[in-house]
Symmetry: C2
Subunit: 142 residues, 2 copies
DNA sequence: CCTTGACTCTATAGTTACTAGAGGGATTGT
DNA sequence: ACAATCCCTCTAGTAACTATAGAGTCAAGG
């Protein structure tokens, strides 16, 4: 019934090294060992590993997951805090989305400046990327 | 007219260490030095630094920027390649956006499962995060 | 019994794009 | 002359792994 690390990793859909990494990071308790010093994971270990992977698939940081694992020990009492953590994470995801929207906008504007190299005798994209008021206007070689 | 590193960094809107880092990464050519071994940046250096920062503000990798700096030496001949690089970057940004949209969807579904801790005697969010078929169903302690 | 192969162990270094610090020298202003 | 501010090099730290090196363990086959 107990799993060795390879089996545990396969079931959780990650690499063996990742499992060991979680242990070292304090997200997964140290498992029992065989006589030959192999790790032996219980069902509960596997559940926790899957929990971690599920959180990671939602892009939560290991720090967040650490908190969740702590809160998880008293799910009812900590329900509000758990909700808050998820809300905060959603907020961060939305923040990142906004950033990407702006980014794409800027990139598309830049891309749209290209009207063929013949027209202006230079690449308009490079010109766009070079635009800046921080330096003098003179053309100069590095 | 030449700038010391502090002035150059300020004009480019980054830290002194970042400028040195770009030099070490091969994005910025080694500048002249004063007798006292201080870096002295020319106008051209500053332009290149701003170019790099501009690209970074568009979230391009230093690797991308390295390529762009190379292509930039022959802007007309390389116009197509430059466009391709920007297009590829836009594609990556959009890919990331799609990921975030899915992520937010999953997170909101998870968040929506919470119906108050009294209802089911546990936190539905934790239950959602624990869902997985990789392990046995039995409740178990770690 | 011995060997082969698959698995596991620890420890260490690499990835990205910086950032922060130690411990020292240079320059500037009073 | 001295303090404040700049600058120098070198090293280590960040997140979340990934990828080695070099060794040990274990089951099956000959």
């Amino acid at each position: 019934m107990p799993y060795r690390i390879g089996e545990a990793a396969k079931r959780a859909g990650c690499k063996v090294e990742t499992v060991r990494y979680y242990e070292q990071a304090g997200l997964l308790p140290e498992p029992a060992r065989t006589e030959g010093n192999f790790r032996l994971y219980s069902e509960a270990h596997l559940e926790q590993l899957c929990f971690i992977r599920h959180c990671r698939s939602l892009n939560m940081s290991l720090e967040d997951i650490r908190s969740l694992l702590e809160l998880k020990t008293r799910p009812i009492e900590n329900c509000a805090e758990i909700n808050a953590l998820v809300d905060e994470h959603i907020r961060r995801v939305e923040e990142q989305m906004d950033l990407l929207v702006q980014l794409r906008q800027s990139l598309q504007e830049l891309r749209g400046q290209c009207i063929g190299p013949e027209a202006t005798g230079t690449c308009e994209i490079i010109r766009g990327l070079s635009e800046c008021e921080c330096h003098g206007g003179a053309d100069s070689k590095v």
